[in-house]
Structure formats: C-alpha cells, structure tokens
C-alpha cells in the first residue's frame, strides 16, 4: 500500500542487520533470522538469490576462504565475506559455464518464506548484484571490468547478456511463487555520484533491464519492481522511472541525495523510496539522541503521503552500538504513525 502511494496507517519498516549484528540480537531475543527481523518490527521479509546471496550473509571465520558455484572465491573479513579471486581472468566468456537458473532447489527458500510469512508480511526477492556489479565485484574484478566497458565492449556485453538470461529466468520463477516485490540493481554509484558514466549505463544496462522488467511484468503485471544502488545514483532516477521501476533505495544521504525533501518533491509521485538514514557516520558514531532526531528528519522528508518504507541507508553494521539500535527502533516506532506527528 505504501509503495502504491497510498497512505497506510503506519510507515512500514524494513530494517536489515548484517549477520554478526543479527547474531548479537538473536542472543538477546532468543530467536533468529527472519523471525527476529519481524519481532523487531519489520513488515516484510527478503530472500536473496543469485550471485550475491551466499556471499552477503555467509559468516565465516576471518581468513577462511570458500568458492561459490559461480567460481568466485571469497574470504572472511570482520564478519563479512569479500571477493578475492574472480573466474573471468581474460576478456572471454566462451569457456565459462553459467549456473542453471532453472534448478528447482533455487526456489526452496522462497517457498518456505511464502508459506511462513506471506499471509501477514510482504515477501521481497532480491536478485542484486544483477548486472554491472556482478561483473565487476564477482566475475571479473573491478579494474578489469571497468576498463572492459571501454576496451572490450563486446565481452562486457556478453557478460551482461549472460547475467540478463540468468536473472530474468530466476526472477520469473520467483514471481511465479507469488511474491510481492522483486529487487534488482547494482552498486553503481559512490559518495558523490555515479561510478560509470550515465551515458554508458544507458547504453549497456538500461536496454537489458528493460527486457528483464518486461518479462517480470508478463509473469505478473502487478509485481512491484524495486531498484537498488548504494551511493548517489540520482543521475539515473529519471531512467528508472522510464523503465517502470516502482520503488528505489536505499537512498544513502550523500551527494545529491542529501536533500531528501527535494528528491521526494521531484520524484515522489512516480516512485516510492526506501532508506535515507545515514549509516556511515550517524549510526556508528552518533549519540542515541542524534539517532532519534535523524529518524524524525528522514520520516519528515520521505514519509508524507505514503510512498516510503523506513530503513537506514544500508544494513545496520557491526560498528553500530546496541544503544543506537534501540534508539533507532524506539524512534521509528514512536513516529511512524499517520498522520505524522513529531512532537
């Protein structure tokens, strides 16, 4: 409802915690995983599938290495895994074996989540890193893939095509399970704007996203399409509107996105937003009072009239003191009721 630009009774919550924080909270509450997130107030659950899924939640001891089915090797570092070796050593995909998106077991976790939560909560399936980030962070390595976009354009396009085929099929299977929201995207922006030229993104990624979204809407015309990038991706927001994206996040408050009210005024009739609260300085280093004020500020900017789901600008990471987690949760529970009132 909130995403469809109608004002619900409450601003929905969708706060994500990195594995190590989740484990800490789990010891306090005696429950874990999605049950814990729901208990802490979330109105939806997320299931990640694809290249990013295993990696982003796998807690392994520091220094331990493991290799995914995509042939990417990761190493545990301070509670998260980081890619350290990439399968596409040369600009050539001919010998690369793409994972099969049609394996029935890929839907197992979605089926479980649907059975357990869908009667009361929204279910989102996350396919990011879908295009560029899968290429640069996982399959090829950042410097190489960034240069491939200019120097080996055909190869870069073949990688993007392989990803498009895989994720379109995977996404359609997910949508057929009856989910509410499908999330695609790549981290394609930094603190002060895009990492790649918007023109290049429009040439290489936009048409592929268009065919993907078309296939998703064919499977379910009402599926909510969410786009994700970290950083300031405001340069391509009009393109996302062109593509029929419904919902964007996580609106990290950096670059042009610092002015949250301006973003809401400019695009709020066409897009719903997720996120906005600073996780880089405020959440780890601010006082509980500052966290409370910042929550009010984000709600004041993005929440009026609906079209907003509350989340910090990223995961709650393990550098956030627990007292700030409590401050965040208590503030959002105090101020998320419509009509909004911040007194």
């Amino acid at each position: 409802m909130a995403i469809k630009h109608q004002q619900p009774d409450l601003v929905p919550l969708f706060i994500r915690y990195v594995g190590a924080v989740s484990s800490k909270l789990s010891r306090i509450h005696g429950i874990a995983g999605r049950d814990l997130e729901i208990k802490l107030g979330n109105d939806g659950v997320i299931v990640q599938i694809g290249i990013n899924a295993e990696y982003s939640h796998k807690v392994v001891p520091d220094g331990e290495r493991w290799t995914s089915e995509w042939g990417v090797t990761y190493e545990g570092m301070r509670g998260i895994s980081q890619p350290v070796d990439h399968p596409l050593k040369e600009p050539d995909v001919s010998g690369y074996i793409w994972p099969d998106p049609h394996k029935p077991e890929r839907m197992a976790e979605i089926k479980q989540a649907m059975a357990r939560y869908h009667s009361d909560y929204a279910v989102m399936v996350d396919l990011s890193c879908t295009f560029l980030e899968a290429g640069y962070a996982h399959l090829r390595g950042m410097e190489k893939f960034m240069m491939d976009l200019h120097l080996s354009r055909d190869f870069a396009c073949q990688v993007l095509d392989g990803l498009n085929t895989y994720y379109t099929a995977l996404g359609v299977h997910a949508i057929e399970q009856g989910i509410d929201i499908i999330r695609i995207g790549d981290d394609i922006a930094g603190q002060n704007g895009m990492l790649v030229p918007p023109k290049l993104w429009r040439e290489l990624v936009k048409p592929r996203m268009e065919s993907m979204i078309h296939a998703f809407r064919k499977a379910n015309p009402n599926i909510i399409v969410k786009y994700h990038s970290c950083g300031d991706f405001s340069a391509i927001i009009p393109d996302l509107i062109d593509l029929g994206v419904d919902f964007i996040g996580t609106m990290q408050p950096c670059g042009q996105q610092v002015d949250m009210a301006a973003i809401k005024a400019k695009y709020g009739d066409k897009l719903a937003f997720l996120g906005g609260l600073d996780t880089q300085q405020l959440l780890p280093n601010g006082s509980p009072e500052e966290v409370r004020e910042a929550v009010k500020d984000v709600l004041r900017s993005y929440a009026p009239g609906g079209g907003y789901v509350f989340m910090p600008g990223h995961y709650v990471n393990l550098d956030v003191p627990l007292e700030n987690v409590w401050a965040l949760l208590s503030a959002v529970h105090d101020y998320r009721r419509y009509p909004l009132n911040f007194d």
């Binding site: 301070r78 240069m147 704007g193 990492l195 300085q281 990471n317 550098d319």
Partner: protein, 216 residues
C-alpha cells in the same frame, strides 16, 4: 611541441594502442624520457584529473587513461635510471588499512599521484598498523595515504595513526585519509593532515601540504 600534445591527448583519450609508437617517436626525435613524462604524460593526467573532478570522466575513463600512462611509463622508466635532472615531486606511500580489501580507491589515487610526478609505493590491502610503521621507517615517504571503504574499517585509519605516533614516525610524514565513509571531520578527529573526497583532489591536497611543510 606537437608530439607532447599527441602524447597527452593519447593519455586523455585512453588510446593505449597508440601510446607506444608516440613515445618511441618522441625518443627518436632526441627528446629525453623525463621531458616526455613531464610535458606529455603528466599534462595528460592533469587534464584527466580535471575531467574526473568536474564529472566529465568516471571510473572507467580514468582507469583506461591510467593504463595508457602506465604503458608509456614502462618504456620510459628504465631510461630514467641515473638521470639526475628528473623532477622529484615527492614519495607517496599508500595502502588500504587493516580489515579492508577494497583497492579501487587506493589504485585510483596511486595512478593520479604517479601522473602528477610522485614516486608511488603501493603496499597493498589489509595492511596492519605495524606494517605501515615498518614501511614508513624503511622507505621514508613524504606523504602517506590510508584508504578505507567501510565504516567498520575506517577505525583502522585511527589505529594506524596511533601506531605511527607510538613509533615516533608520525611527524615525519603527511598523512592523508580517504574512502567512502571518511570526511574532513573524521580526518580532524583522528589527527590526519588532510582528507580528499576523490583521487584528483588527493593529488592537489598532497602538493599543497608538501608546499606548506617547513623545509628541513
């Protein structure tokens, strides 16, 4: 001279397929390697830096330009051995701090610094404070860069500066910090000399702080 303009244009446009021939042609004309670097490559990279700063260039273009510059440097550097006329802007040592393996920011800064005439020593990623101390003691750089992408690892920048203080080498170097969650406020808090939001500004900051440093 036309050849300098051609070389700097090749860097700007990232024409790395052509740079080898251009450099060879300059050398054939009797131009010294040092002059090719100063008048051709560095001027090109300065313009790349400007375009990056002003939002005309993004990461892919900068990387291709840097690759072009490095192709040229691989020909020119061996010729510089024993050349006492070469300009030495300073020595720059950089690493990504402990717990963080992200290297793209570090690499972009290294490339820009090299383009600006710094001698660059890159000591890699996930560098422990004691390794920074050891490398700084041995290599005696003028400027040190500490890179961190994550809010969970920027604390290692602080730990590194503290380790430098304890080892008594902090005041021998100018310390610059950078990375997504880092800002001037953080730089002040942890006692760094400067902060730069991107690779191009890092070069300007390093030059500016070097000029202000009292000459020993």
């Amino acid at each position: 001279m036309e050849i300098f303009e051609q070389i700097s244009n090749a860097v700007i446009e990232g024409e790395f397929g052509e740079i080898t021939d251009l450099v060879q042609s300059a050398l054939d004309q009797g131009i010294g390697a040092n002059e090719v670097i100063r008048e051709g490559l560095s001027k090109g990279m300065t313009e790349v830096g400007r375009r990056f700063r002003e939002g005309e260039y993004f990461m892919p273009e900068v990387l291709v330009s840097a690759k072009t510059m490095n192709t040229a440097l691989s020909i020119l550097k061996p010729l510089l051995v024993g050349d006492t006329t070469q300009e030495n802007v300073g020595t720059f040592l950089i690493g990504t701090v402990k717990g963080d393996v992200h290297d793209i920011g570090k690499n972009m800064v290294s490339m820009m610094m090299e383009g600006a005439g710094f001698r660059v020593i890159d000591i890699g990623v996930d560098v422990k404070p004691e390794v920074f101390v050891k490398e700084i003691t041995e290599k005696q750089p003028d400027v040190v860069g500490l890179s961190a992408l994550l809010s969970t690892t920027m604390i290692s920048q602080k730990e590194t500066i503290e380790a430098l203080k304890e080892a008594g080498v902090r005041d021998r170097v100018i310390v610059l910090v950078g990375g997504a969650p880092v800002d001037q406020n953080w730089a002040n808090t942890i006692g760094a000399d400067g902060y730069a939001p991107n690779a191009s500004v890092a070069v300007e900051k390093a030059k500016e702080l070097l000029q202000r440093r009292p000459h020993s």
